[in-house]
């Protein structure tokens, strides 16, 4: 196991400064970032090490995804060593308000198997989900839209993809349900989605609905997600109570990618 530990500091604009420790015998020349599942040259970024330090500049483009971080002892070396996560000072990411331009998020995080990685999101436009109020079998979400303006006919669509019901084996048809969006100042928006519109009688398996914001007629839909802080996977952190109806349960939830969903489960 590599003894190299990577401490890092992230600023709100997207610059991440890495500082390696414990790399005495292998001082290293480069820190290499590789996008998981990536195959193109743009999926590898090499950062020169100056002493123990390497800087990922905000201007260096990184595609959305999970980037593994490895440490190369000699230039051109392909036997890269993983970097263990050290102290991650990411306080600047908490309650972040992004500047103009595409919303770029870079959160250094420890993987489950103890390696340092970087979670990146690049969204233009971006619909940030905020507080969710739950009442009367409906969820009301307040959020902020960046890089687009909600106009006439703006709405939110809950979309269920085609799938196969794991319980009964029957095909589940794709479905879409739309509710109106209420716009406010500085991109603020809210909408209310009653669960009953999504539920169906005789449900036998879990259904996940994606949520998309449609800024106006003809505009591209924007995925609702929550990425403007230091939480790289909020699936089990931002958890909401389920509404219990006759035959089904419903609750908003986040995926490991921080996308917002509505989850419907059959009720025994």
């Amino acid at each position: 196991m590599s003894a190299v530990v990577g401490h890092c500091t992230a600023d709100a604009a997207g610059t991440v400064t890495f500082e390696l420790a414990g790399a005495r015998e292998a001082a290293g020349t480069e820190l290499v970032l590789r996008r998981r599942g990536g195959t193109t040259p743009a999926d590898e970024v090499r950062l020169p090490l100056t002493g123990p330090r390497a800087v990922l500049d905000r201007a260096t483009p990184l595609a959305e995804g999970r980037w593994d971080i490895v440490h190369v002892a000699e230039a051109g070396d392909h036997d890269a060593q993983p970097v263990r996560p050290g102290t991650r000072d990411v306080r600047a990411l908490v309650d972040r308000v992004p500047g103009a331009g595409p919303v770029t998020v870079r959160v250094p995080y420890p993987t489950a198997d103890g390696r340092l990685a970087l979670r990146c999101w690049v969204r233009a436009p971006h619909a940030e989900a905020g507080a969710i109020d739950l009442a009367d079998g409906a969820m009301t979400l307040r959020g902020v839209l960046y890089g687009a303006e909600a106009g006439d006919g703006a709405g939110v669509e809950a979309r269920r993809n085609a799938s196969r019901d794991a319980g009964s084996g029957t095909a589940v048809a794709p479905r879409t349900h739309r509710v109106p969006l209420t716009g406010g100042a500085d991109g603020a928006f809210s909408f209310t989605l009653p669960y009953e519109e999504l539920a169906e009688p005789a449900m036998t398996a879990r259904q996940l609905w994606d949520l998309w914001l449609l800024p106006g007629h003809g505009a591209d839909p924007v995925r609702l997600s929550r990425i403007l802080d230091d939480v790289w996977d909020r699936k089990s952190i931002h958890v909401y109570p389920a509404y219990r109806a006759d035959g089904w349960l419903a609750a908003p939830c986040y995926s490991a990618d921080n996308n917002l969903h509505v989850r419907l489960d059959p009720r025994d």
Binding site: M1, H7, T87, R88, D89, V90, R91, V94, D95, A131, I132, D133, L134, D230, S236, I237, H238, V239, Y240, P241
Partner: protein, 470 residues
């Protein structure tokens, strides 16, 4: 290693102990103590006995901090009873020799798995110690061989079971010190009896609070055993201090009932009612003694706090999490010491804590560098939090005071206090002083008593019972 904190005046609450250890001028940081005799300038060989240096936990962290600081001047080793992995999980202290007595690594050529003595219950390691099941006849002999042949100046035990081993099996020579990382009160009756019986043959016991040192002095009859309180240590954080601007309260600890996070969540509902712009993060997971996560989750839902209170899971290290907050909170019913309080303060985060036994009141000066509130009082917890939430300047000032006063827990300064104690005991031993006489008396006395109506064990048990009702 001269730090700002090393030359500042000791905190009033620690003045007693600090004065004894740092009685010098503070001119040169660690070793210009006028109160210590020339013997202290001699490096000592100090041997720590630890349950498992390869795991994670407060005692391991504290021992690593202490030995790292002591190793700057002394010959220090950590003897780990068990070894279950190749490398320690926590960063091991530089310059400290680490060795083990029982090897539990499957892939190790010298492993002890399957040794017949491992299946036989330990007789020397006391049953009252919660780790008894992990000990065996094999550890009895391995620890005995180690202690009998040990030629150190000082041997230090880090949990009651190991302190009993040291009391019973250390050969002539090393000064015997037993560390108490928990408290006498929280031990079972059975373990207290064992302690009362065995610790008579130690030279010193160190507790982490003055409150617990008082308990050891008043509830047990340990003639000639020096009992000193030396708090736990927390290194200077590697992150810059918090700036008190964010609207976050942070709590961290195991999700077990003793931490009373249920009270915290209930109190936070009152905070949110007054200040809905503030939120709470709770770091930690359950442990072998329990996991409150589901119950806390349900309470958050019941109170409608899902937008305001998040259970974050574990984080390591915690420092970068503390600095995301502007206030830290501790609602425990008991804290042996209160390491998390010191950690948060060292990050410049003021702490609102219950005034529970034993540590918080020895760490926080109420109204100056934090807040102490009554145990179990939801309104008081909410009130303490709101006092700091509603007053930005008070919060900033309290955080700065916390940063300053918590420097007294720096490992270098805490190590000085242990070092002074060890040097003192070694010096007395060399001069044929107190220790030999006392041990001689005890050993003679024990022989007499064993032949008489009462055994030492019975007398010790009586002392415990007496202390209990006192």
């Amino acid at each position: 290693m001269l730090r700002d904190g090393a030359t500042t005046a000791p905190h009033p609450a620690a003045a007693d102990g600090a004065a004894r250890a740092c009685g010098g001028t503070g001119r040169s940081p660690a070793y210009s103590r006028s109160s210590l005799t020339r013997e202290t300038s001699q490096p000592m060989h100090i041997s720590f006995l630890l349950h498992n240096a390869y795991g994670v936990g407060g005692t391991i962290r504290t021992t690593f901090n202490l030995t790292r600081a002591l190793a700057e001047r002394h010959d220090v080793e950590i003897v780990s009873v068990f070894r279950h992995r190749d490398e320690p999980t926590l960063s091991p202290p530089e310059g400290v020799l680490l060795r083990h007595l029982v090897d539990l690594r499957k892939n190790s050529p010298d492993h002890d798995l399957g040794h017949p003595d491992m299946a036989r219950p330990a007789t020397v390691f006391p049953r009252g110690d919660g780790r008894h099941k992990q000990y065996s006849r094999l550890t009895d002999t391995r620890i005995a061989e180690h202690l009998r042949s040990l030629s150190a100046d000082v041997v230090v035990g880090t949990r009651p079971g190991l302190n009993c081993h040291i009391a019973r099996q250390t050969g002539r020579g090393p000064v015997r010190v037993g560390q108490e990382h928990l408290t006498l009160n929280t031990h079972s009756h059975r373990l207290r009896r064992e302690i009362a019986h065995r610790y008579v043959l130690l030279d010193a016991v160190t507790t982490v609070t003055e409150a617990d040192a008082r308990a050891y002095r008043t509830r047990l009859r340990l003639p000639g055993v020096r009992i000193d309180a030396v708090p736990g240590s927390v290194p200077e954080p590697t992150v810059a201090p918090a700036d008190s601007a964010g609207k976050w309260v942070v709590a961290a600890g195991r999700l077990t009932s003793v931490k009373r996070y249920d009270l915290l969540i209930t109190a936070f509902a009152k905070v949110v009612a007054a200040r809905p712009d503030w939120r709470l993060r709770i770091y930690g997971a359950g442990d072998a003694t329990g996991n409150e996560r589901d119950a806390l989750r349900a309470l958050i839902d019941e109170r409608g706090l899902y937008n305001h209170v998040q259970l974050m899971g574990t984080a390591n290290p915690l420092e970068p999490e503390w600095v995301k907050g502007s206030i830290a909170v501790v609602t425990s019913s008991v804290e042996s010491f209160g390491m998390t309080i010191v950690e948060a303060m060292r990050c410049g985060v003021p702490v609102v804590s219950t005034d529970c036994p034993h540590g918080p009141a020895e760490i926080i000066e109420d109204g100056v560098d934090g807040r102490l509130v009554p145990v179990g009082d939801v309104d008081a917890i909410a009130g303490g939090l709101l006092t700091l939430i509603e007053d930005d300047e008070l919060r900033r000032r309290t955080g700065l005071a916390a940063l300053k006063s918590s420097a007294r827990f720096d490992p270098a300064r805490i190590a000085e206090r242990h070092e002074a104690l060890y040097a003192d005991l070694v010096a007395r031993g060399r001069n044929g002083g107190r220790r030999e006489t006392v041990l001689g008396t005890v050993r003679r006395g024990r022989g007499l008593l064993l032949g008489g109506a009462h055994t030492v064990r019975e007398l010790a048990a009586a002392a415990v019972r007496k202390g209990r009702t006192a």
